[in-house]
């Protein structure tokens, strides 16, 4: 049977359209995916993301040494209360998963990984942790809610005490605040301001109810996908996977090359790829006429096949088809995408497709 989050009963009560996602029964939408998308861009939306995998490493040492070896970005950059986006690579430089790691000072580190990759992630991490003598614990006892949108921080007033609220508002993007019962990070997967809140599963329904009462709209994974795509954020399994490196996935910026003496898994392969010249790149495409782009559509420059879309959707904010595509490096301003047998002109852009003042 599919796994259920602590908010499953809430989703049923709201008549959510439920789908299987990575072994979890998750809400796709609560009526209209488009409305939910606009709600997050214009006001505030609430997502149940309790399916995501949370792992705590008590620390700081030896977790620090382990994570500096395990992750392509460098946790040495991570002060207390700060978040870092990174890939976890295999020896060939392929992406096993992308994740956020939070520095927690003397408490250690917290990792948030994808739900669909949980089993292979844990199987990869466990023997390495043992080798580094680092202990870790999966936090299946926690739930996670995301509150996203220009009004997200204002809406938190209804559910947080004054001190915590002040700390959250004083925090910057990609920083976290830890209260007694709440871990509140200024992160998200929508391109909007907002927070992701981790808390004990049994407390999640009360927080959910409080946010809904404050006028935050429940939003499903459908809107989450179009929001992240507009924001130019990668989706694991679509835009990158174990057969692609961060360097051909628009994620070169997440690889910490300095200091050169830090060895991390995949480093040698990435250095070799970089030295040989990067032959592919991840670009953004905007369809010039009405229509929808999807993943796995072939991209052409004239007669020449140059690549493939990795994610595609109708952008509700732009009213256009948009996509991420992995293509041959050095492509110029225009190309064509094969949409059901027709070649439609598309403009090449640098993501994000929609950018917000943050």
């Amino acid at each position: 049977m599919a796994k259920r989050t602590p908010l499953y009963a809430r989703h049923l009560a709201l008549r959510a359209k439920l789908v299987d996602f990575g072994g979890w029964d998750m809400p796709l939408h609560y009526g209209s995916q488009l409305q939910e998308h606009h709600q997050v861009r214009n006001a505030a939306g609430l997502f149940d993301v309790s399916h995501m995998t949370i792992i705590d490493f008590p620390g700081p040492a030896p977790a620090r040494a382990l994570l500096r070896y395990l992750l392509a970005n460098d946790v040495a950059r991570l002060g207390p209360g700060k978040a870092l986006y990174t890939c976890m690579l295999n020896d060939a430089g392929g992406v096993i998963d992308d994740l956020i790691v939070y520095g927690r000072g003397e408490t250690g580190y917290r990792l948030v990984l994808n739900a669909a990759t949980r089993d292979k992630d844990l199987a990869w991490i466990a023997p390495l942790a043992e080798r580094f003598n680092a202990s870790w614990r999966e936090r299946g006892d926690l739930a996670m809610l995301a509150v996203q949108g220009p009004e997200a921080l204002a809406k938190l007033e209804a559910v947080l005490d004054a001190e915590t609220l002040h700390a959250v508002r004083a925090s910057r993007r990609f920083h976290a605040v830890e209260g007694k019962d709440l871990f509140i990070a200024r992160t998200g997967y929508t391109g909007e301001d907002g927070v992701e809140i981790m808390l004990a599963a049994e407390n999640a329904p009360v927080l959910w109810d409080g946010l809904l009462a404050a006028g935050v709209a429940p939003c499903g994974l459908g809107a989450r996908d179009t929001l992240r795509l507009e924001a130019g954020m990668s989706l694991y399994g679509s835009d990158m996977d174990e057969t692609t490196t961060p360097l051909v996935s628009g994620l070169g910026w997440t690889v910490a090359w300095q200091p050169p003496e830090r060895d991390f898994i995949g480093r040698a392969a990435l250095e070799q790829q970089r030295a040989g010249g990067i032959s592919q790149t991840l670009i953004g495409l905007v369809l010039e006429e009405r229509g929808v782009l999807r993943s796995h559509q072939t991209v052409y420059d004239g007669d020449r096949e140059i690549g493939m879309t990795t994610s595609g959707a109708f952008s509700p904010s732009l009213n256009r088809g948009i996509a991420l595509a992995r293509v041959a490096a050095g492509i110029g301003g225009g190309c064509q995408v094969d949409v059901r047998g027709k070649r439609l002109p598309a403009q090449v852009v640098k993501p994000p497709f929609v950018s917000r003042p943050l």
Partner: protein
């Protein structure tokens, strides 16, 4: 899921509805059940008027937030009109699938006997409900 299935219309197994007029012209759209399953529609690719179609031939494409789906002609005939409003307002199909959200009109000499009546179509819709997603699959999602 409860959806409307007007008794005066005819239906196909592929979720089109058909309304016949006395002049041999039929109006075609997709059912309330189908628009529910597809979710928000964001694009409709319409054919040119004048195109000759045969029954079960794809004659339009509707794209929802989830996926693209063909609309199949319920009968042999000639397309005489398409709903141009859908080009800018594909959501009309979600809002009013049997009236404002009509898709095309076909001139035909076929009779309606080969099509399903409301009771027969309801059985199909119920069957697919029990089948969970039926043929309308979900695209990959974030998470």
């Amino acid at each position: 899921m409860s959806s409307t299935i007007p008794s005066e219309l005819r239906y196909t197994e592929t979720h089109e509805w058909v309304r016949s007029q006395e002049d041999g012209i039929v109006t075609v759209g997709i059912t309330d059940y189908a628009q529910h399953l597809l979710g928000d529609l964001v694009f409709v690719e319409l054919p040119e008027a004048g195109r000759v179609v045969t029954a079960a031939e794809g004659c339009a494409v509707i794209e929802s937030v989830k996926a693209a789906s063909d609309v199949y002609s319920p009968v042999d005939g000639v397309i005489v009109e398409v709903n141009e409003l859908l080009a800018d307002n594909p959501e009309l199909i979600n809002q009013d699938p049997y009236e404002e959200g009509w898709i095309l009109r076909i001139k035909t000499s076929a009779d309606m006997e080969g099509l399903l009546d409301a009771a027969a179509y309801e059985l199909i819709a119920i069957d697919e409900d029990e089948d969970e997603e039926g043929s309308l699959t979900n695209s990959k999602l974030a998470g």
